[in-house]
């Protein structure tokens, strides 16, 4: 330092601190998302139990028949699952990705940081992609639509008539529509970060380049 020309060492503490905070935020949002999914799974289980319970009660003790109850309970549950999906895949996911974008920038800027997000982006489909996570909610919703459809068809004794064919077509349409809506709402990880981060180079990289 005697001649005053010696370069100051790179400040590692501030990037490390910010990186740590970003990681903690990602962990937080992932925990919240996992809670939403656990709630959805429990709801699905409870809905099956409730529908089963409706079928086990004597028909005379109910104001409506069991298939109507199955549609009613299943419909409410479906609406809640859809809401949970929007909360998870649209709202919480964007909060999480806002941090992931910054992590990506930090990983690109500072060579000494671990390249977790870069490594995940080199996979064909980012494991944390909302489009991929949407399959969980699609599975939950579609299984409920299927149960409702089967309940109605069973009530009609599965006879081959116009009404049942229309019902079966409607069920297939709703199965497709539910999946389509959720896939439409949830974008891929790459789509969401495109505006903020140039990942074209990262996608070209092979995992071996990090070895």
């Amino acid at each position: 330092m005697s001649d005053g020309t010696e370069e100051k060492p790179e400040n590692l503490i501030i990037p490390f601190g910010v990186y740590s905070r970003l990681i903690e935020d990602i962990k937080h949002y992932e925990t919240v998302q996992a809670t939403y999914r656990a709630m959805t799974s429990s709801l699905l289980l409870a809905t099956y139990a409730a529908i089963g319970f409706m079928y086990s009660i004597k028909p005379s003790s109910l104001p409506l028949n069991a298939p109507t109850w199955a549609c009613f309970i299943g419909g409410i549950s479906l609406a809640i699952i859809f809401t949970m999906a929007i909360l998870d895949l649209f709202f919480q996911e964007r909060l999480m990705i806002a941090n992931a974008i910054e992590v990506l920038k930090f990983e690109a800027k500072y060579a000494w940081l671990p390249k977790i997000q870069h490594r995940l982006l080199t996979l064909t489909s980012h494991p944390s992609s909302p489009k991929k996570k949407a399959w969980f909610y699609i599975g939950c919703g579609d299984s409920l639509i299927l149960v409702i459809g089967l309940a109605i068809l069973y009530h009609n004794n599965f006879t081959l008539n116009v009404l049942n064919i229309v019902i079966a077509v409607c069920v297939l349409f709703f199965l497709w529509l539910y999946g389509y809506l959720l896939r439409r709402i949830s974008k891929s990880f790459e789509d969401l970060i495109r505006k903020h981060f140039d990942f074209a180079q990262i996608k070209k990289m092979k995992l071996e380049e990090y070895e």
Partner: protein, 219 residues
């Protein structure tokens, strides 16, 4: 430690000792290693949460079986075998969705962290070699270690689907024996295919395969 490193909070006797981080790559590496470990723990906890939920599904299914077998309730015109079939099938779908979250999403996230932690250990040997040891203990001594992660779900769903298969067989046997046997064999083949795909992954183990490849290349 100098007195500057001690911060007295409030008017109590409580004393917080603050470890100052130095602007030195080794200290930062230590911090990063701690962060990697906390991330690994985080993903393990999330994965465990889904496994706990899978147990809940299984227990609920058993309760459903016992409730039904007790015969306390009248299920009207619904065939008993059909109820068993529906119960088992729907439960296995629920378990499969949990498998998708656990193995399909969080396993890969955990492995990405694991690989980075292992690279960090290689760069800074003073951090120890826990991840390297994990690799040698799990990857070297087992041909395909992550099968053990999937086998839990595989076992659960196999059991439920076998119950579904047998129920369907008895249901169809009331009408036609040939139909019953053909459904038994077709459904059984489907179960085998599904379980194999569950255990060996629908491209979910891409990262796992990479871990294995990397380790074998090194040796």
């Amino acid at each position: 430690m100098s007195d500057d490193n001690i911060e007295i909070t409030g008017d109590t006797d409580e004393v917080d000792i603050i470890d100052y981080i130095e602007n030195d790559i080794n200290t930062i590496a230590f911090g990063l290693d701690s962060k990697m470990r906390s991330l690994q723990c985080h993903y393990t906890i999330l994965k465990t949460r889904y496994k706990k939920l899978a147990y809940t599904w299984l227990i609920a299914t058993f309760i459903g079986y016992s409730y039904f077998l007790k015969g306390a309730e009248d299920f009207g015109h619904l065939d008993h075998y059909l109820i068993f079939f529906a119960l088992s099938l729907l439960s296995s779908i629920g378990l499969y969705l949990l498998y998708f979250l656990d193995i399909g999403i969080y396993q890969q996230m955990a492995e990405a962290v694991f690989l980075e932690a292992e690279s960090l250990e290689k760069k800074f040997p003073f951090l120890g070699a826990t991840n390297k040891n994990i690799m040698s203990l799990l990857v070297e001594e087992t041909s395909y270690p992550l099968v053990y992660e999937a086998i839990l779900y595989g076992g659960f769903t196999t059991m439920l689907l076998v119950v579904a298969n047998v129920s369907l067989f008895f249901y169809f046997s009331q009408f036609n024996v040939y139909l019953a046997f053909s459904s038994l064999f077709i459904f059984f083949a489907l179960i085998i295919l599904l379980e194999l795909s569950l255990i060996f992954g629908f491209n979910f183990f891409k990262m796992s395969r990479h871990v294995q490849k990397k380790f074998k290349k090194k040796n």
